[in-house]
């Protein structure tokens, strides 16, 4: 059962990622990315990381993608021409580079395949909110506070960058 679920979610994730890359409409690309994130959340559930699966949907598919969709609709981006309308040497080079990097990573995974761990028996207790909160608020308390400051700084930076300066005649 878990095997079939994994195959289903993996095919869904890869297909939605490919659809995101080749779609010429930006809004459709963003919606395919949401689908990709939801299937990744399903994979996190298969890995018994319940907390991260919930956070993935709340933060990524909820907050970040809503921000993306807001910006896309605010900027009124036109459709690009289809990627397949004419062949460019750039596409071929990009595809080749992607395949090279993929085979490199696969080769390194394959050479370490014997030393990789099998399923840990204590895996079921690792991903719960209780276990993560326990470590997050004791061992990782300082990084947690630094992240809070980073979020505040990012919010201020975004406000500074995106604020609209009115262009009048004497203020150009």
């Amino acid at each position: 059962m878990i095997t079939y679920l994994f195959i289903f979610l993996a095919v869904l994730a890869v297909a939605s990622a490919l659809a995101m890359v080749i779609n010429k409409n930006t809004v459709n690309s963003a919606l395919f990315l949401v689908l990709n994130m939801v299937s990744l959340a399903g994979l996190f559930l298969l890995l018994k990381a319940q907390f991260l699966a919930v956070i993935q949907i709340l933060v990524y598919a909820g907050a970040i993608m809503v921000l993306f969709l807001f910006v896309i609709m605010l900027l009124n981006v036109q459709d690009e021409e289809s990627l397949f309308s004419k062949f460019r040497i750039k596409y071929f080079v990009a595809f080749l580079l992607g395949v090279v990097v993929f085979s490199q990573i696969l080769y390194s995974i394959g050479s370490f395949s014997g030393t990789l761990p099998t399923v840990a028996p204590e895996m079921t207790e690792v991903g719960t909110v209780e276990a993560i909160g326990d470590v997050l608020y004791s061992e990782y308390l300082l990084p947690f506070h630094i992240i809070a400051m980073l979020l505040t700084a990012a919010m201020n930076g975004a406000l500074m960058l995106a604020q609209h300066k009115v262009r009048t005649e004497d203020n150009k």
């Binding site: 890359v21 080079v93 580079l97 395949v99 993929f102 399923v119």
Partner: protein
Amino acid sequence: MIGIDWYLALSALLFCVGIIGVLIRKNAIVIFMCVELMLNAVNLTLVSFSSHYGNVDGQIMVFFSLAVAACEAVVGLAIIIAIFRNNLSVDISKINLMRW
């Protein structure tokens, strides 16, 4: 039960789809979404190692990387809005002010 190497291969595949997307697309927003896809692929690697070793530290790392990705998305989209206001386009082949 699926072994860890399948999860690693899946995340490598997603990462490479992200690389190809960054290289072939011209729309700055879509390039940004491809970067998010690559971040997600790495998160999948961290989570699969974390649960196969039974160690929670990898999931904490993913939690922090989610927060950093949120910051990055906010600042990046603000920059894209600022660029759009100057050029009326998010096509990166038309943004050539600092290109030689």
